[in-house]
Symmetry: C2
């Protein structure tokens, strides 16, 4: 249930041309009313390729055959597999954007934030306890959380579902995803940590200025980020955690050591290069000449345009398809009052007789992820807003026709 | 116990200069009798940097900012995160070396073979069984096996130790490492798989011509390899599995999806480049001009020289330090009769009054890994033979003096 790879390895009728197979800039050579299947199930952030194609050589990485051979990046750091250059760029970017406090925090790199999520569960669990820690989150929750918690049937932790319904004894770990995947809303921890039994993991993958207003520098015990949703580089599999406590950091590092003996150095070095271009694109003195606008300006403008088009498109449904309203807030980064434009559209179907919204859209050759994977009704679906332009265009055209 | 990172994050007195900090070609600016600590605990394959520095541009990889952005490598492959170029190079290299049968096998890429080992445990376990599968191996076994099996306290599988002592009921998974880490000997499965309860994982990380004679193309159900020990590129974290059964392959892929949502594309593309240079270095028509000899010739020559020096050095111990004798065998790859020259020296101390060989060598500022991590007595230690020349030189000089 709710895994990343729901559909893509099984051929999807009637025409299984994927966005990836088409390439970034190719328009499909078929009209919009042709039954091309568009797959918006995954949050594959290929929308961003457009920016990076313009960035040209500034973002290019060259690695010689003899580089990155050792297991070790920095034997003097408790996180011995963390590349110094990557750590520096992560700290600089957070300080520049103002979305998280980095001072006094450990930076831990992971093979995507999914690995770091599991590292955090491991670090927050008590290996000497008779009972697994209960892992909870408020609905709708990210569909990967229950799967990644339970697939190894660990005695350290177990999925316990909706935090609001949680009545369990013993220790728990609360997952707080903010802005939330799938619904884009800001979230706060529900259960208090005051009794000493509860711990929280803050998944801040989407707390970047293209998706939401940066209202404060987040300062939680464990905060997870990923380059996938920051710059669009999902394929390099790099995430990072900001961690306050020394012992928790040490255990998370131990997990990654036992799980994969560290994290690809090549990916870290590449991520550092990409993050430096993001920052430089905002710096007049180090202007990246090949791009016409700064990274977050480009990304925010694109998200705004896409959300405007989606809101316009579903007007024709006369209230059958509903999107959430987001409050407007002051963004410290842009110094403007802005509305959220999440990476996913969380859409509800109010149409009579349609209980399975996923199935309904599938008949129209739009693949989404159904509400049941997020702990709620099938009247909801999550739709990626981050695919390439040709796919997004078809999606919008189709949504403006479907009733 | 027996983890990769036993020492390196804690400062090692009296002088904690690491090989990595010194750089590949720097000789330590201190004499051999100075108490520099040399760390031969890990099998960090930095010896190979010398070859790759000579390879120059042929092995250099250039990646543009817009490449490798999608999660997906190949949506038509059941292993949707496998880069085609990497798969092709893996198949070509095995066919060239003749060490494994690739026809009709799935290739699954992993974040190092450690992740693939865990993926295989997951795939071979029965999620509906009341009892975890027992994971066994013959002693001395690779120190990471028990740790990587048990760290999450899974109900799917559990470490059960020495296969020779195994009396358990229920299902089991036998790990066969050949040539074996730590002792370099060829191994075969001990328990029969005929009763349908037993399954095997063959870890063939060291089944390459620089370490041992290639006597046949291995053709087992699950075979694990890693670029770390093939070419020396540990830091790029790439391993691969050759898998016969469709369902086992599908489950292993599912594990990697849930564990890290695929494997770094950058690392795969780089690995493909490196493997192609290895093959081309043996091909007269595509000669790699910058290197003076083919890769496996270089690697075998270096290993032979190192083992000759070590055997010579310990002669002065008058039988206090003992290394295994290896049988000479015909190597199909080189068409010569050759002796094994393993990546690790597995040394026994026969000196009276010395029960803790690790502790004894540590006093001489040589860090190794003690026998207890491999399921045997403390009279044994495992010593990496793959460190850079300056470290290896000090090691040899020191071993020729110690009694």
């Amino acid at each position: 249930m709710g895994s990343l790879q729901q559909h893509s390895t099984s051929p999807v009728s009637p025409i299984s041309i994927s966005a990836a197979a088409m390439g970034a800039s190719d328009r499909p050579a078929i009209s919009n009313d042709h039954p091309l299947v568009i797959n918006l199930d995954h949050g594959d952030p290929t929308m961003y390729e457009k920016f990076w194609k313009k960035a040209g050589d500034e973002a290019t990485l060259v690695i010689s055959g003899w580089e990155t051979m050792s297991y070790f990046s920095n034997k003097d750091n408790v996180c011995w597999f963390l590349e110094r250059g990557f750590e520096e760029e992560v700290r600089r970017l957070h300080e520049f954007v103002g979305n998280a406090v980095v001072d006094g925090k450990h930076i831990i790199v992971g093979t995507g934030s999914t690995q770091l999520f599991q590292a955090a569960l491991f670090a927050l669990s008590d290996p000497n306890s008779d009972q697994p820690a209960n892992v909870v989150s408020s609905v709708p929750y990210y569909s990967v959380y229950p799967v990644a918690t339970d697939y190894l049937k660990s005695r350290l932790y177990q999925w316990a579902g909706d935090v609001e319904k949680y009545q369990g004894e013993g220790s728990y770990i609360e997952l707080v995803c903010s802005p939330n995947n799938p619904d884009g809303l800001s979230k706060q921890a529900v259960l208090s940590s005051e009794n000493g039994k509860g711990k929280t993991i803050h998944d801040l993958a989407y707390y970047w200025p293209q998706y939401t207003a940066i209202t404060a520098a987040a300062d939680h015990d464990i905060m997870l980020f990923t380059i996938s949703k920051t710059t669009g580089h999902a394929g390099i599999r790099i995430g990072w955690a900001l961690v306050k406590d020394d012992e928790v950091a040490r255990k998370m590092i131990k997990f990654i050591e036992m799980n994969t003996i560290g994290v690809s150095k090549d990916s870290q070095i590449r991520a550092a290069r990409i993050l430096s271009v993001v920052r430089n694109s905002h710096d007049n003195s180090k202007i990246v000449h090949s791009v016409e606008e700064s990274f977050f300006h480009y990304a925010r403008r694109t998200m705004t345009e896409r959300w405007d088009r989606l809101n316009e498109a579903i007007k024709s449904s006369n209230g059958a398809f509903i999107l959430a309203d987001f409050p407007s807030q002051h963004c410290n980064f842009s110094d403007e009052i802005i509305e959220s434009h999440p990476a996913f559209a969380w859409m509800k179907c109010e149409k009579e007789g349609i209980d399975d919204f996923y199935g309904f859209l599938k008949k129209h050759n739009i693949l989404t992820r159904g509400g049941e994977h997020f702990g709620v009704e099938k009247k909801y679906v999550r739709i990626s807003m981050l695919d390439r332009d040709p796919m997004f265009d078809i999606f919008i055209n189709r949504m403006s026709i479907i009733h």
